[in-house]
């Protein structure tokens, strides 16, 4: 993990008012919703959205602006670069989600509404962590694949297509289509229903294993893509 790169990523986010605006909306709206709806806490999936907002262009933009070349000329492994970006996105998404959730929880308890127990909150945060680092990994892989903000574009298009596929598959009763749609959606948004996992006997590991597989595969793919990337800084000739 590269500390300077981690911090530089955070400052990169802070320098973009658009991103901050969208982030604030995505973080605060669910909190408002939950506060108004009798103390229900926001669902863990919100952390995925935050990770997507933070992760858009996380590698692709560096390639487009050319800053990647200059950083990679330093003694830093490309794998370190990828992992640092992943950690930055995941932890930032989780931190924001966590802060908003805890705030909502405190507000809820203070105003006398019936809220979750600390155990529930802890479980929610754990699920959010899986959401955040999962989505971050998928986006990092896409970002290593295409320049600029193509990563989030692919993710959105992929999600829409998968939704269509699963809906059409449901309506027309085409099992493969429904399955394909569902699997794609789960791949794009890796997560685990921890309550189900921890509450069932025997403990079903398949969900956790699927999450682990998706995340490690995406990170490995991103690293391989970056390793193979030929960086050309040539402008008009020479």
């Amino acid at each position: 993990m590269s500390r300077p790169l981690f911090l530089a990523t955070i400052r990169w986010w802070l320098a973009s008012p658009i991103r901050l605006g969208v982030l604030a909306a995505a973080a605060l709206l669910p909190v408002l919703g939950s506060v108004l709806s009798q103390g229900r806490l926001p669902s863990a999936g919100g952390a995925s959205e935050l990770a997507l907002i933070l992760g858009a262009g996380i590698i692709g933009q560096s390639v487009s602006t050319g800053t990647l070349q200059l950083v990679l000329a330093r003694p830093i492994r490309r794998s370190t670069f990828v992992l640092t970006r992943w950690l930055a996105v995941g932890s930032a998404a989780l931190a924001i989600f966590g802060a908003c959730t805890v705030a909502a929880w405190l507000l809820g308890s203070a105003s006398g509404m019936e809220t979750q127990t600390p155990g529930d909150v802890a479980l929610l945060l754990a699920e959010a962590a899986l959401h955040a680092f999962g989505a971050a990994a998928v986006l990092v892989a896409l970002s290593a694949l295409v320049r600029g903000y193509g990563d989030i574009a692919i993710w959105i298009v992929g999600t829409i297509l998968a939704l269509l596929a699963s809906e059409v598959g449901q309506v027309k009763d085409v099992a493969t289509l429904r399955w394909a749609g569902r699997q794609t959606l789960e791949f794009l948004r890796p997560s685990v229903d921890l309550r189900q996992v921890l509450g069932a006997r025997p403990v079903p590991l398949s969900g956790l294993a699927a999450w682990a597989f998706t995340v490690t595969l995406c990170l490995a793919v991103a690293i391989v893509l970056l390793n193979r990337k030929e960086l050309s800084y040539a402008s008009s000739g020479a």
Partner: protein, 171 residues
């Protein structure tokens, strides 16, 4: 790809690939195993199966019938939010006789006679349904569906109060 020296800035992610392979193997293995050993979602309430449940209140505690089915989605949420909560489960265990009634009409095409009887007695036609009663001849407070954690808990508390008042009056 040329084999890269360990010093290389482009060292291939061998550890990650190995982890991915291991995770994939676990996923496949676990999925296959779970197919033959379907996990049962347990909660913290000490449910008494309907077949052996008493018919009337015992030890000053009303009976809480929980009518459910495996395919019922809101039932899962009810279990997660109310029955899996430590303090709530503890309260239920201490103040009620919790009886679980599982409808298997869809899976088996028929039900156990006791299940059928209970379904008929309380006119249960949707799941989840919660019924609090002191036994035949006493009143019964039902809640159909899952209107949320707060409302459910309120219902349970009110139902308990109703039972206790009836008991008290009865003395």
């Amino acid at each position: 790809m040329r084999p890269a020296a360990p010093e290389s800035t482009r060292r291939p992610p061998v550890a990650l690939l190995a982890a991915a392979a291991a995770a994939l193997a676990t996923w496949i293995g676990a999925s296959l195993w779970e197919r033959s050993h379907p996990p049962v979602f347990a909660d913290l309430v000490k449910w008494v199966p309907s077949a052996v449940a008493p018919d009337s209140a015992s030890g000053g505690k009303p009976i809480l019938y929980y009518f459910t089915a495996d395919w019922c989605g809101p039932c899962r949420v009810l279990r997660q939010e109310v029955f899996s909560s430590e303090e709530r489960a503890r309260y239920l265990n201490e103040h009620f006789v919790p009886v679980i009634v599982v409808d298997r009409m869809r899976e088996d095409g028929r039900n156990e006679p006791k299940v059928d009887e209970l379904l008929r007695r309380f006119s249960v036609n949707a799941f989840p349904t919660l019924v609090v009663t002191g036994g035949p001849g006493t009143g019964a407070s039902p809640q159909t569906g899952y209107p949320g954690k707060a409302k459910t808990w309120t219902f349970l508390m009110n139902a308990e109060q109703t039972f206790l008042r009836a008991q008290f009056k009865g003395r």
